[in-house]
């Protein structure tokens, strides 16, 4: 029996690697995606374009604007003379925000009166708007503190001192790159397992396989192992790239990550084989994979926090293996988690793996009828 499974595994590898196209699909897109996600997908805003409408002739407004000009976060794109110019600037996405400083700004400040500044911001992308406002606020905060000290307003009564844990500079790359480990190994594993049976059905070799003395379980194992090996290699490659190329700190336990990855891949393989046993053609298989993949990624916490989702959808995410593995990867990378801390993630993954594999086996036998 092990001999037959091994023969099938070797055959699967040969079939994948001897074909130029599938070799390409396994190697090039994951590397490209890693680079694209690693470099391009970031929540950090840089060079926020802004316009200035300054009606104040005084020195205080100049001091405030100097702080914006000196920051790498902001880039001034326009200076305008009247209120009518504000709308086109924002409408045409020339500027994300416009600072409007009233005529009495310096005077009010010198008289120890509140001096409001208006920020008009493009809210079409609410995420960028919120982040940009945060950055504007912090510029104002430092201006206020400084002004108060210089002009004897007295100290501000309460002061915020922020110390981000795990990611001291709040770099979003540290958050995203470990997530790619989960994302790409899921994609590759699903592609390898989800299409393998469908491909054989399409080419008619599946019947040929079924008339050999191989039992359905053996065929299933022979189909599962290549997925585990290829998905695993791909996962390891991305982990190494994250550590040595993107310089994301890895402070947790390697065996804990390996265990998590194995369970995650098994769950993905089970789902891939389920899709595979239902699909008659490769096209159907591919559709099935996408049908699963898109919600699996959105509902995983890869980009948006699960805690922000409506309660019903949050419950749904408990079925998603990627949810657990994302916690494991990020935990091991940034928090230094080991086996003990990750226990609550392991057992649901194992449960999903077990049930999807046995469902695949059942479907598999059923489809032979």
């Amino acid at each position: 029996m092990p001999g037959r499974i091994w023969a099938l595994v070797i055959k699967e590898f040969l079939a994948l690697l001897r074909d130029k196209k599938s070799r390409f699909v396994l190697i090039v897109p994951p590397v490209l995606q890693l680079l694209v996600f690693g470099y391009a997908a970031t929540f950090d805003l840089r060079h926020i374009p802004y316009g200035v409408y300054n009606q104040d002739p005084g020195f205080a407004s100049q001091e405030l604007l100097g702080r914006f000009r000196g920051s790498a976060t902001f880039r001034q794109v326009a200076t305008i003379e009247n209120a009518g110019q504000i709308a086109p600037l924002i409408d045409n996405e020339k500027a994300l925000l416009v600072l409007r400083i009233g005529p009495s700004f310096t005077r009010d400040l010198l008289l120890h009166r509140p001096a409001p500044v208006q920020v008009i911001i493009d809210g079409r992308n609410s995420n960028s708007a919120t982040l940009a406002l945060n950055d504007v606020n912090s510029v104002f905060l430092s201006f206020d503190t400084h002004w108060a000290a210089e002009h004897r307003w007295g100290k501000t009564p309460a002061q915020l001192v922020i110390r981000p844990w795990f990611n001291p500079n709040l770099l979003s790359r540290w958050f995203i790159v470990p997530g790619i480990v989960a994302l790409l190994s899921l994609v590759v594993t699903l592609l390898v397992t989800g299409l393998s049976v469908a491909r054989e059905r399409e080419q008619g070799t599946f019947d040929q396989l079924l008339v050999t003395p191989m039992r359905p379980v053996e065929i299933l194992l022979g189909k599962a192992l290549p997925g585990l090996i290829i998905g695993g290699l791909e996962g390891i490659f991305i982990v190494l790239a994250a550590i040595f190329w993107f310089r994301v700190p890895f402070i947790g336990s390697v065996p804990a990550l390996a265990a998590g990855m194995t369970l995650f891949l098994l769950a993905a393989i089970g789902i891939g084989l389920m899709i595979s046993s239902l699909a008659v053609t490769q096209q159907q298989g591919l559709l099935g994979i996408f049908l699963f993949l898109v919600p699996a990624i959105i509902l995983s916490g890869f980009a948006t926090p699960i805690a922000n989702m409506p309660p019903l959808v949050q419950d749904l995410t408990y079925l998603n293996p990627m949810r657990y593995f994302l916690v494991i990867v990020r935990g091991v990378f940034l928090e230094g988690d080991g086996f003990r801390a990750l226990g609550p993630q392991y057992w649901p993954l194992a449960l999903i793996a077990l049930s999807s594999m046995s469902a695949a086996a059942r479907l598999f036998r059923h489809r032979m009828r």
Binding site: K11, G204, D207, Q208, T212, M214
Partner: protein, 575 residues
């Protein structure tokens, strides 16, 4: 005489496959006679499909010119395509549309007015007898009906020139007859038809025959001219023992004999000269040459290397009292409300070649798949080599070999890798495995192809490899599902020689086929129609069932059509 509607002048065409350049057609000169039916024949890879595609203006020649209806395909491809009718091997039917919707769509594509389309469609539906199926989805039609619908779509306008690329592959004899009726009707309307085919009897119905070989025109002439050089060289040989298989083997080996093949009444022999020594007990009778004889004469036979006579042939003969190796009793299969196989019973004895015949959709493939354990039976007994196939255990499967319709092999694995995989899948190991692999390469002459990927093999070699893979574990039973469909005539004969040799060595062979002349190779036949066994017995017995005054000596095809039509008429009257 009208100008030739299709003219090839010194046409050459190459394809590059990777680094290699493959010559598909070479310095080809050709002229079709207006208003005639011309058959295009040749072994696989002779360039038939390339010729068709060139004529349709879908490919352009590297050198030379092609004139279709007086226009050069290089300059006026679009105009030519608007005028001619072309039906490729796989006609582009939309499987999710109904028969009527397919016809409407093609009428729109060809720019017919609504009025003209309606009249023509009515005519075509009547001609193809597809009228009652107008609302059926094309995907649910049988192979033969699909071909007829494809033809109907190609014929919405009556084209002056019609190109048909193997329109009858995979189509059962009855549907084949109907297709021919349509084609004859077109000829009467003055249409010039060029069709490629793998059937010799179809070639004989053509006014002219073009024989292509390796991209070159071997001969283009009328049937009579093809036959002429063979006068006095064709014989029918019979013998008292009646074992045609052994007689054929002995004749094939005899000096002066070019080819010997099994036919209804004995063994047909093509001699190199007029005289060959007859062995005692044999009766030789002169016969009129057929196109098949001419084909073999011109192209030669791909003969297997001479091997030692099969071991202990006496014990291996298909005696009527040999042990029963496949037992089928009251076998039924239901798909929902539809009963595909209706309580069939038959026995297969050890060492027999057992043929399963039937029209498209008669339940042949369903029965076959149940026998191999690929499909569970709804009820009935199914024992193969003493094991209950309804439990389809691995143990039973280890005792059968199976070759599917499409010679399913792993396309991007080499010959050797395919063999290695299947040997492991069948659990062979050690010396035995090495021996069997060596045997397969030798016996099936695969040594030149060991490193070649399976999907790059010519069809004939692919078939050999599929057979080799199915026989690696030396199974006592071999299942062959339409193993000769789409294979060229030479490869088909070679294949039957192998099957004969296998049967002689005691392997039981179960086979389905569309080629009814191949039924003569079988020891025992079962004829299925609409899920029921219509007739069974030896080929002689089955033919005898169809004997009447008008057909004193019916061919297998006539018998087949007669029996099925009688049965279907009865069924219609009963319901």
């Amino acid at each position: 005489m009208a100008a030739s509607p299709l003219r090839f002048i010194q046409v050459g065409k190459h394809f590059s496959r990777g680094a290699a350049r493959v010559r598909a057609l070479d310095a080809l000169d050709l002229n079709l006679t207006a208003g005639s039916i011309t058959g295009l024949l040749g072994p696989d890879g002779a360039g038939k499909t390339t010729l068709m595609r060139l004529a349709a203006g879908l490919l352009l020649p590297d050198v030379g010119t092609i004139q279709v209806l007086g226009a050069d395909t290089r300059a006026r491809a679009a105009k030519i395509q608007a005028e001619i009718g072309y039906m490729p091997q796989q006609f582009g039917l939309y499987e999710d549309l109904t028969v009527q919707e397919n016809l409407d769509l093609h009428a729109d594509l060809q720019g017919l007015s609504a009025e003209a389309a309606r009249t023509r469609q009515r005519e075509l539906l009547r001609m193809t007898a597809l009228g009652p199926f107008g609302t059926r989805r094309a995907g649910t039609l049988s192979g033969g009906m699909k071909q007829k619908l494809g033809l109907a779509c190609a014929l919405l306008r009556v084209p002056p020139l019609l190109l048909l690329d193997e329109p009858t592959v995979g189509v059962d004899p009855i549907a084949r007859r109907e297709l021919w009726g349509i084609i004859q009707g077109l000829k009467d309307q003055g249409v010039t038809v060029l069709m490629s085919t793998a059937y010799f009897d179809e070639a004989e119905r053509c006014d002219e025959i073009i024989l292509l070989h390796q991209g070159k025109l071997l001969k283009k002439d009328t049937l009579a001219a093809f036959r002429l050089p063979l006068q006095g060289r064709c014989f029918r040989v019979t013998e008292d023992t009646g074992n045609k298989r052994r007689l054929r083997e002995s004749l094939q080996r005899r000096p002066g004999v070019q080819d010997a093949r099994i036919v209804a009444a004995g063994v047909r022999v093509l001699c190199q000269g007029p005289s060959v020594e007859a062995a005692p007990g044999e009766r030789w009778q002169a016969e009129t040459p057929t196109f098949e004889d001419a084909f073999v004469d011109l192209l030669g036979t791909a003969e297997m290397p001479d091997e030692a006579a099969p071991a202990a042939p006496a014990a291996a003969t298909a005696d009527q009292d040999a042990e029963i190796i496949i037992e089928v009793r009251d076998l039924r299969k239901r798909f929902g409300n539809f009963e595909a196989v209706k309580g069939n019973t038959f026995m297969v004895r050890k060492g027999q070649i057992f043929g399963l015949l039937g029209a498209n959709g008669a339940g042949k493939t369903t029965t076959f798949r149940m026998l191999c354990g690929l499909l569970p039976a709804s009820s009935g007994t199914l024992r193969v080599a003493g094991v209950d196939m309804r439990r389809a255990t691995a143990q039973a499967r280890a005792r059968i070999g199976y070759v599917s319709q499409k010679f399913s092999l792993y396309g991007n694995l080499s010959c050797d890798q395919n063999l290695a995989f299947f040997s492991a899948a069948y659990g062979l190991r050690g010396t035995w495995r090495r021996q069997r692999l060596q045997w397969a390469v030798q016996k099936f002459q695969l040594s030149d192809y060991r490193e070649v990927n399976a999907d790059q093999l010519p069809l004939g070699i692919k078939q050999r490899l599929a057979l080799a893979c199915a026989l690696l574990h030396a199974p006592p039973i071999l299942f062959l599902d339409e193993p000769t469909s789409g294979v060229d005539p030479l490869a088909r004969r070679e294949f039957w020689q192998r099957v004969n040799a296998l049967a002689e060595s005691g392997v039981t062979v179960m086979i389905t086929t569309h080629f009814l002349e191949e039924a003569e190779y079988c020891d025992h036949l079962v004829l299925l129609s609409q899920g029921e066994v219509l007739a069974q017995g030896s080929p002689q017995q089955v033919r005898a069932l169809a004997q009447d005054k008008t057909h004193p000596e019916p061919s297998m095809e006539e018998a087949f059509i007669h029996l099925i039509q009688t049965h279907e008429n009865q069924g219609r009257r009963a319901s």
